[in-house]
């Protein structure tokens, strides 16, 4: 048993709480999707929760983030309401996007979450542009963008990094490397020494971190955010994690290496954090936390089931003010 300070204890429990909220939200959503309650598919981040939880722990509410098609975790970690998020997945009027976006376009501007994105790499430029806009407004807020390892092979990756570095914008680039670009092992289609080396080539401060160690991610993010607040230019985190589920719910992952997968199951970030907190003699706190999270998730699920569907005419609302659909 290791003795830890009160602040460290609070921080560790908060990080575990965020990861549990993401994990349980997605597990419950997965069941609801299979039961036909959620239309469309889901891109689950099960196994990757430490990246969202660790990075967002270093951000303020007024900071902005952009996300990916696998964005539930980022939204939850940034503080979006579980009730409104689950309602959105269910396509209900009380969803974060009034049922118009669904899982892949989940967003909550009230907490600075500027949207998941259905296009790989779609959020990178938006985050950089938001930083440029914040500069025009004289704001001190920063932006963070999550993107996957698949996105580093798209053009907007280079355009965004070069732009942020050229204009010294306070953008935290977070490459959430889960090992797969859809059904393809990313290493199979990616040249060079990895995402951080690409940032290094543009003189962007960068670090590679174990993306399944939430405290390591949080520490790396805090250090980088501190740089950003000093206006020292953009920063880049390459968080190495693993996608425990398929690309979508329908994907059984037949292309995965079985041995690697088994090994990664033992490196589940929540499992690792539980072991650490057990060592720190925090089992009782963990149990309490687990019960709270279950209550929150149950409330979100019940809320989504009870919520009404949007009125059909809202399909044509909020398209545009001038030249709106008839």
């Amino acid at each position: 048993m290791t003795a830890i300070g009160q602040n460290e204890r609070i921080r560790a429990l908060a990080l575990l709480r965020t990861m549990l909220r993401i994990r349980r939200f997605e597990e419950v959503a997965e069941i609801a999707q299979r039961a036909g309650e959620i239309p469309g598919t889901l891109h689950l981040s099960i196994g990757q929760e430490a990246v969202a939880a660790g990075v967002c722990s270093a951000l303020e509410r007024t900071d902005l983030i952009t996300s990916t098609h696998r964005g539930h975790g980022h939204s939850i970690a940034k503080g979006a309401s579980l009730v409104a998020m689950m309602a959105e997945l269910f396509g209900r009027a009380s969803g974060t996007c009034k049922g118009k976006g669904g899982s892949m376009h989940i967003a909550d501007f009230s907490v600075g979450m500027l949207g998941a994105n259905g296009v790989v790499g779609g959020g990178l430029g938006i985050a950089v542009g938001a930083a440029q806009g914040l500069r025009v407004r004289g704001s001190n807020a920063i932006t963070a963008c999550f993107f996957g390892d698949g996105a580093v092979n798209r053009g907007p990756f280079l355009e965004s990094l070069n732009w942020a570095a050229t204009f010294r914008l306070p953008v935290l680039f977070v490459c959430e490397d889960n090992g797969f670009a859809a059904f393809t092992e990313t290493a199979r289609v990616t040249a060079g020494a990895g995402p951080a080396a690409r940032a290094e080539a543009l003189d962007i401060q960068n670090v590679v971190v174990d993306g399944n160690d939430v405290i390591a991610v949080a520490d790396a993010a805090s250090a980088m955010v501190e740089r950003l607040r000093r206006k020292a230019g953009p920063a880049f985190i390459h968080a190495q994690t693993y996608r425990l589920r398929g690309h979508t719910i329908a994907d059984q992952g037949a292309y995965r290496d079985a041995e690697t997968h088994s090994r990664q199951e033992l490196r589940d970030p929540i499992l690792l954090m539980r072991q650490r907190l057990t060592d720190w003699n925090l089992s009782e706190d963990m149990q309490k936390l687990q019960l709270q999270v279950e209550d929150d998730i149950s409330a979100a699920l019940a809320g989504a089931r009870a919520a009404v569907f949007p009125a059909p005419e809202s399909a044509l609302a909020e398209v545009q003010d001038i030249g709106a659909p008839a």
Binding site: T96, A107, G125, E159, N162, E318
Partner: protein, 324 residues
């Protein structure tokens, strides 16, 4: 009234809006030296490099800067240099900017103006000449403007900057240097209203952007030889002024739509279809379209001449339509 070129008018229009609203800023290539055509000349000295952002050649990021900047509470003006280059940012324009408000359930507003200097100039060939306005009109979420005169370019640019919706602002590159009278004061032109260039009773000619200046010459020639042409410069392509077009066609019974874009699936098709659906038994002739052939824009002068819609083409079409 003052007389200005289109370039001077749009430069002043942007400067006026930037003075009026500190959240308006512009981004694009070479803006620190006034932009490709000088439409941003000297603005950096007044507004500084944070509001006149001279960017790398990164079209996707230039458009993303507009979207991200809008989501962060500003009103960006995005310069694409030549309309064809926007194709390197088509995901950002179509998947992101046009849909952000809707798919996020109204949380986002995207008051971005995307400036596309468009169309053929001598020798500009296949990748620097295309008129793709009908693509943008097809996409929900976008307002599409294509003015032709100095006053309209200025007045609609100012309205576009104040608009809460994303605006594709197509600029008549071929006639940047043409001059016109600009009203004093805060000259804004309402979005969605056509400009009646000339009232007439024989035939309605509908056009926009640089083609409006060609059609204007054709109209003058036809009027001189006794045909009473009514000429409408559409100016706004989405929304377009269906009321003005339908009223005019009901009066004249003849419609000719002229555009520089390829005729197949051009905006002329939508206008003719709308007339066909709404004007019953009042047409004296089948409506006609004049647009480019479905071929890339060629380089060599004789090929270019063979390709483009000319004043003579328009005059001939008008004569054929009014012939007994």
């Amino acid at each position: 009234m003052t007389t200005q070129t289109v370039l001077e008018a749009v430069r002043d229009g942007l400067a006026e809006e930037m003075r009026r609203d500190a959240t308006v800023w512009a981004v694009g290539e070479d803006l620190h030296v006034g932009g490709l055509y000088g439409q941003y000349r000297d603005l950096i000295s007044e507004f500084g490099p944070d509001r006149i952002v001279a960017s790398p050649i990164s079209e996707a990021m230039i458009v993303s800067a507009g979207l991200g900047g809008a989501l962060a509470g500003t009103r960006p003006v995005v310069e694409m240099r030549i309309a064809d280059f926007a194709l390197s940012a088509i995901d950002e324009l179509i998947n992101q900017i046009a849909k952000a408000r809707f798919m996020f359930g109204g949380q986002a507003r995207v008051p971005v103006v995307v400036r596309l200097p468009q169309g053929m100039v001598t020798g500009s060939a296949a990748q620097h000449s295309q008129s793709l306005e009908s693509w943008y009109v097809h996409v929900p979420g976008l307002v599409v403007l294509a003015p032709s005169t100095a006053a309209d370019c200025k007045g609609l640019l100012k309205s576009a900057i104040r608009c809460e919706d994303p605006v594709i602002f197509i600029e008549p590159r071929a006639i940047w240097q043409s001059t016109g009278e600009i009203p004093e004061c805060d000259h804004c032109v309402p979005i969605g209203e056509a400009r009646l260039v000339r009232e007439g009773g024989d035939v309605t000619v509908v056009t926009w952007s640089a083609m409006a200046s060609v059609a204007h010459k054709a109209m003058e020639a036809c009027v001189h030889s006794g045909t009473d042409v009514e000429l409408l410069d559409l100016r706004s392509l989405w929304p377009w002024d269906t009321g003005a077009v339908l009223a005019s066609v009901r009066k004249t019974g003849r419609l000719l739509v002229v555009h520089e874009a390829v005729q197949v699936c051009g905006l002329g098709a939508e206008i003719v279809a709308t007339v066909a659906e709404n004007v019953d038994g009042e047409l004296r002739r089948p409506p006609r379209r004049l647009g480019a052939p479905r071929a890339p824009v060629p380089f060599s002068p004789p090929l270019e001449t063979a390709y483009r819609v000319t004043q003579q083409n328009i005059e001939q079409a008008i004569r054929e339509m009014v012939a007994a």
